[in-house]
Amino acid sequence: MADATLDAKGLNCPLPILKARKALKDVPAGGTLEIVATDPGAVADFQAFCRQTGNELLEHSEADGVYQFLIKKTA
C-alpha cells in the first residue's frame, strides 16, 4: 500500500507531473506515492522526472488505458 495516491486520470501534460511533485511533498522520506493517469506521455515523463529528481520509479504498468506508477521518495 502506497503512503499516498494521486488520481491524475484525464489530465494532460504537464499536469500529472506537476501534481505528482506537489503530492510528493507530503510523502515522508522513503515513503511511496502511487499515481494513476491516462496520459500516454506520462510513461516517458515520469521516468525522466525520476531520473532528474533522484526519486525512484519502483514500478509502472498499464491496463485498459490507465497507467499506474509507484514512486519512492528518495530525494
Binding site: G10, L11, N12, C13, P14, L15, I17, L18, A20, R21, D39, F49, Q52, T53, G54, A75
Partner: protein, 162 residues
Amino acid sequence: MSAEEKSMSIIVTKGSLDWAYPPFILATTAAAMGLPVTMFFTFYGLPLLFKKLNLQVTAAGNPAMKMPMAGMHMGLPNLVTAIPGVDAACSVMMKNLIKKKGVASIEELREMAVEAEVRMIACQMTLDLFEYSKDDMIDGIEIGGAATYIECATQADINLFI
C-alpha cells in the same frame, strides 16, 4: 533534489493563447524537476503577467492551425480570419478543446509557476513603450532590463527564447 543543480531561463515574447503554453509548461515542469527558473516577459509576452487574462488565438498567417471538427481537421483561409468575430470564435473553440482534453489553462499554469517560486521579470522598456502599469500585474514580479536578464542567463544551463 539531484546532486548537480541545473537552472533555466526563458524569454517570453508572445502573448497569444497558443504561444503562452510553451513557456508556462516548461517553466512549471522544470521547477517541478527541481530547477530554479526565471521567466523574462518582454514585448507581446508582457501582457501574460496581467492579473486578468483573456487570451486569444488567431488563425491568420497560421496555416498549421487546424482544429479537430466533425471527425476531420479544419483550418481557415487568411481571408476568412479577417472577418470580425472569427478570432473570438476560434479562441472559444480552442479553450473548449483545452478543457475537454484535460490541458491546464494558462491561468492555472501561471498560478503553479508562482507557487513553485518561478522568478518572473517584467521588461521595464516594454512597460514604458506600451504604457503598461505594474499595478495591473500579478504580485511578486520583478522589474528589470536586458542586463538583469543577461546576468541570469550567464548562470543558467538552459536559456530559451519563445
